[in-house]
């Protein structure tokens, strides 16, 4: 791996001399992409450079395939975010086709800070730290305010206002579900419900797509140093991120993503954004979120069962499906 990485970086920086890689190590966490940390040093025009990096590489088998995510998209989104106040790692290099690194990969900045150990803020953390992180978490409004046209993000494919953003997401995740390990009649009924209840939005925003605890880094002062995992970013209804973060599945100690009660999250987002929160739309995206998460878990379980992945988490994720289905039964009163 180190040799391949070195060859790739030399190709990307033909003027670099004495390029060296240190401490290449695969990192734990995350199910959708391989993550490797390393340091790269080189000399150029008489100056010395050092960078701490993260390599994100497509796995052999995944919980999300092709249509749901790709490295080029993530790379371009990260590049665009560099000129915004949204905390995100800088994107450095892209091997979009996997010509150098075997599979599509991107290299980005290693940002300081720690992730939450799971998809919820830890129950045992101090209330003060929780409150500070919570305040930063609702800065989601800042992401939704970003002018995606000026940021050159129209390549993501802007849906029209109205029901198209919701319809696109239902199409995307229903397609992922069709690639599942086994059929679930509750999910069939859920996708029928989603199609019958597509909500209309009057504005299109840059949506993160996986906005929750576990996908940000924070420090001891309560600052979110970076929002991570932009691979499912898209243009859509801003309520989608709120619905995702509101899911009971991510609850910790009864708090949305372990940070604050759901109602408070919505109220504070409303204050931050200056835009009314449409609870019906948030609910729709919560339902979609459960179906999406079940589709992800079932796709991962399939990759595990068919042996296209050796990541144990993909197998374990299959065990989460009943809980997600239970939430859907409650939500839809099936």
């Amino acid at each position: 791996m180190e040799e391949k990485l070195s060859a790739f970086l030399k190709n990307q920086m033909p003027a670099a001399a004495d390029l060296s890689i240190r401490g290449l190590q695969r990192r734990p966490g995350g199910a959708s992409r391989e993550s490797w940390a390393f340091e790269v040093a080189w000399r150029e025009n008489g100056k010395e450079f050092n960078r701490s990096c993260i390599l994100r590489r497509d796995p052999t088998g995944s919980v999300m395939e092709g249509e749901q995510t790709n490295r080029s998209l993530e790379f371009r989104v990260l590049k665009a975010l560099e000129s915004t106040p949204v905390p995100a790692p800088k994107a450095y290099w892209l091997d979009s086709a996997g010509k150098w690194l075997e599979r599509p990969s991107l290299i980005m900045e290693l940002v300081g800070g720690q992730p939450t150990p799971g998809p919820t803020f830890p129950v045992g953390e101090s209330p003060e730290l929780r409150a500070k992180i919570g305040a930063r978490f609702v800065n989601l409004a800042e992401l939704h305010r970003a002018d995606w046209q000026a940021l050159d993000l129209a390549f993501l494919g802007a849906p029209s206002v109205g029901t198209e953003p919701a319809a696109r997401q239902v199409d995307l995740w229903e397609m992922a579900y069709r690639n599942r390990l086994e059929v679930h009649p509750i999910l069939e009924e859920t996708f029928c419900w989603l199609r019958r209840n597509l909500p209309a939005t009057d504005r299109i925003a840059l949506v993160h797509g996986d906005y929750r605890s576990g996908n940000y880094l924070y420090d001891e002062t309560g600052r979110i140093t970076a929002m991570l995992d932009w691979e499912t970013a898209h243009l859509g209804d801003p309520m989608e991120d709120l619905g995702w973060a509101s899911m009971k599945f991510w609850n910790g100690a009864g708090l949305a993503v372990g940070l604050m009660p759901r109602a408070e999250l919505l109220r504070r987002y409303e204050n931050e954004s200056g835009k009314a929160v449409d609870e019906k739309r948030v609910f729709f995206y919560e339902v979609l979120g459960n179906a999406k998460m079940a589709a992800i878990a079932l796709t991962g379980a399939r990759a595990f069962s068919e042996g296209t992945t050796s990541h144990m988490l993909h197998g374990i994720m299959g065990l989460l499906v009943p809980r997600l289905l239970e939430d859907l039964v409650d939500q839809l009163r099936l």
Binding site: P28, E182, H184, P185, I186, E189
Partner: protein, 158 residues
């Protein structure tokens, strides 16, 4: 015959915990090992109950689909696609009848259930009203309760 599967699984777990894990330093390998332990806990708790679990599901699926097929047969002027679905349900139920028996292998049960689930999903998707889905919903809720129990390991529930 001893050691049986449970003995082996407990042995594998002990060997991993006491021999393999202490030598690991790579953070990714350590994370994977923790997941392997979780998976082993699940398998240990359920390996000898898998056939029973599948058999119960099979019984429930056959009952709900037989009821649906009977209802569809009783409806006058059935659309062509609904008649086709009814015929496929009846066909599958006949196959299940033939394959049924105390000695039916686990894989056969599992694959049979997958076919029955597909038909149930189709039935749910084709239903024109809540009333038509009542039986299917009752089954799905019961099955979900069983699946929730299935993923419980001691006090831990996924």
């Amino acid at each position: 015959m001893r050691p049986d599967i449970g003995d082996f699984l407990r042995g594998v777990k002990k060997s991993l915990a006491e021999v393999v894990f202490p030598t690991l330093t790579d953070p990714f390998a350590l994370e994977q090992s923790a997941f392997i332990m979780l998976a082993l806990d699940h398998v240990l708790a359920r390996w000898d109950k898998a056939s029973h679990f599948c058999r119960e599901e099979n019984r429930g699926l056959r009952a709900v689909l037989a009821e649906a097929a009977a209802r569809l047969s009783g409806e006058a002027g059935l659309p062509k696609n609904a008649a086709g679905l009814r015929d496929r349900i009846q066909d599958r139920l006949r196959k299940e009848e033939v394959e049924d028996g105390a000695d039916r292998p686990y894989e056969s049960l599992r694959d049979g259930n997958a076919c029955l689930r597909e038909l149930l999903a189709e039935l749910v998707g084709a239903a024109s009203g809540e009333e038509q889905n009542r039986g299917a919903r009752a089954f799905m809720k019961k099955q979900l309760e069983r699946e929730r129990e299935w993923v419980r390991v001691g006090e831990f529930v996924w």
